[in-house]
């Protein structure tokens, strides 16, 4: 059953001005419950605009977004309800922390959802746990946290609303490799336990290739590919043409293949490459 179905979505900025542009142009996708969808595309390709339509933050110029079969704009006055079900984590979410303690900040969503104090406490603590924030940090001011902790506190605030669909717009931007790996692992752990649907926008092909079930590739507002990481990253030329790159390791293995070595297509991780090469060396009795 598809949880989100997007039909011929179009979003036009600056209608009636000389700068009129279709940021999202006739995009249709159907996403199944529990899928992790990666979104890639060059800056200005429409990824962020696209994800902002998913929770009704911006209203499509035309087309439809169906959440479990129902148009989210069917009752425009109730669009707020959609935002509890489709949680959105913006770029640099730490700039949106506002309350005087981390606890209060995370509890803002559940409170607005109308949960009891007891339920709020439970969801706040479990959300904090998901993102790896210890209990003692909850009483601190969010502004006393480190950059990585702030980011995680902001994500916890969205997770605390227990959304069925979680949208993350470049969640690892600006984090160091360690912080990035940790945050991705926590998101994936959360996904595993909750089995919700995740949209994740990223410029890191390495990250996307590791976690996504399917990848949406956007260019100039259009959806140009929608497939598994392996398939998508096999299309090196097509990706490069629209300003994207494949992970370095994928490129290395593709070059080897072009040079006549029997290695597979669409290698995405160093581990996969390693085992391919070790196999090759063993076959030739060199290892």
């Amino acid at each position: 059953m598809s949880i989100i179905e997007v039909k011929n979505l179009r979003y036009t900025y600056g209608i009636g001005t000389p700068f009129e542009i279709n940021a999202v142009d006739d995009v249709s996708v159907s996403v199944n419950e529990g899928e992790v969808i990666g979104l890639i595309g060059h800056t200005g390709s429409g990824k962020s605009t696209f994800v902002q339509t998913l929770n009704g933050l911006i209203k499509p110029t035309s087309g439809q977004i169906l959440l479990e079969g129902k148009d989210i704009w069917e009752k425009p006055k109730e669009i707020r309800k959609i935002r509890f079900r489709v949680g959105m984590v913006f770029q640099y979410p730490e700039y949106q922390l506002f309350d005087d303690t981390v606890y209060k900040d995370i509890s803002y969503g559940p409170k607005n959802k109308g949960l009891s104090d007891e339920e709020i406490d439970k969801t706040v603590r479990s959300a904090a746990k998901f993102v790896g924030l210890s209990d003692k940090l909850l009483d601190k001011s969010p502004f006393d946290l480190s950059g990585g902790e702030k980011r995680r506190a902001a994500i916890a605030g969205v997770i605390a609303m227990d959304p069925d669909v979680l949208v993350l717009d470049e969640p690892t931007a600006g984090l160091d490799p360690k912080g990035r790996d940790l945050l991705l692992a926590q998101i994936m752990q959360y996904h595993k336990e909750r089995n919700n649907t995740i949209f994740i926008v990223s410029h890191s092909m390495e990250d996307i290739s590791r976690i996504a079930d399917r990848i949406m590739v956007m260019s100039k507002g259009r959806l140009v590919m929608f497939d598994t990481p392996k398939k998508v990253f096999s299309e090196v030329e097509k990706l490069e043409k629209i300003g994207l790159r494949v992970p370095q390791i994928t490129k290395i293995m593709m070059s080897l293949k072009e040079k006549g070595f029997p290695v597979s297509d669409g290698i995405l991780t160093v581990e996969q490459a390693m085992s391919e090469i070790v196999d090759l060396l063993k076959k030739e009795g060199r290892l």
Partner: protein, 275 residues
């Protein structure tokens, strides 16, 4: 005399906290392209702010072209000499039209209007934003904004530009464009200090400096630094995938002459062991 000489820099943001910089000594030669690596909180960004007198050391000295950052009378001259491009372009754009934003720096330096026009056009072309010159910055994407911010610095014609993770929010194309811009600056003799988490960018530098807990962990050419895979991993830093693969293969008994850093080098390394 080096272009930048930092000697035994110590610094903390307040008295309770430990030193963010804990005895950093660093020399940067004129025209060098130096990459500064290290995980968040290691002191890289603090160090960047030291280089144009945004922050002053508690102990130690920083001298830029014979100007000590401690001399308040020289602060203005130092900031003209060393331009700083920060992580978040939103904090760096001031005007409502792009070309006006880029002109802001040279205007404040009292540059002639005709010269400002020339510099603004050139700077915008260098970052490939010329065609957007009459647009409003708030309508740009994050990556485009960052390129405008870089143009704003270039228009002041500094002799050194310090980049604090300028590509963190850019797409791969944007990252390449910025790296191309950086190489252009270098070829014009501008000294470049690049703080980055992308190892593929760091390998393009002449020299790599790795910081950890406010100290310098190791420095050298990219080859020298990235060959120390164990050390870097121990301090939870990345190496390029090309290097990681070669390192793993060496771990199972393969030999190498030179550690590969780029995709091309890795391919020829693999060809060598497979043929």
């Amino acid at each position: 005399m080096s272009f930048i000489t930092a000697e035994n820099i110590k610094f903390s943001y307040d008295e309770e906290n430990k030193n963010v910089l804990d005895g950093v000594s660093l020399k940067i030669e004129k025209g060098d392209f130096v990459a500064l690596l290290g995980h968040n909180g290691c002191g890289k960004s603090t160090m960047a702010k030291m280089l144009n007198a945004m922050l002053l050391p508690d102990e130690g000295t920083i001298v830029i072209e014979n100007m000590s950052t401690k001399d308040e009378e020289l602060t203005f001259e130092i900031r003209r000499t060393v331009g700083l491009v920060l992580q978040n372009p939103d904090n760096q754009l001031v005007a409502s039209v792009i070309e006006e934003d880029v002109a802001f720096g040279p205007e404040n330096l009292g540059v002639e209007p005709s010269e400002i026009r020339k510099r603004v056009d050139e700077a915008l072309k260098a970052v490939d934003m010329y065609e957007y010159r009459t647009h409003a910055p708030h309508k740009l994407s994050g990556g485009q904004k960052q390129r405008v911010a870089i143009a704003g610095i270039l228009a002041m014609q500094p002799s050194c530009v310090v980049f604090d993770e300028p590509t963190a929010m850019l797409d791969p194309n944007g990252r390449e464009e910025v790296m191309k811009t950086i190489h252009t600056l270098k070829s014009r003799g501008i000294t470049v200090v690049l703080i980055t988490h992308y190892m593929n960018e760091a390998v393009q530098a002449d020299r790599v400096v790795v910081m950890d807990s406010g100290k310098i962990l190791t420095e050298g050419t990219p080859k020298e630094v990235f060959s120390q895979v164990n050390l870097l991993k121990k301090h939870s830093l990345d190496v390029p995938q090309a290097t990681e693969l070669a390192y793993k293969l060496i771990g199972v008994g393969l030999r190498y002459t030179e550690m590969p850093l780029t995709a091309e080098e890795c391919v020829s390394f693999l060809e060598g062991v497979l043929r």
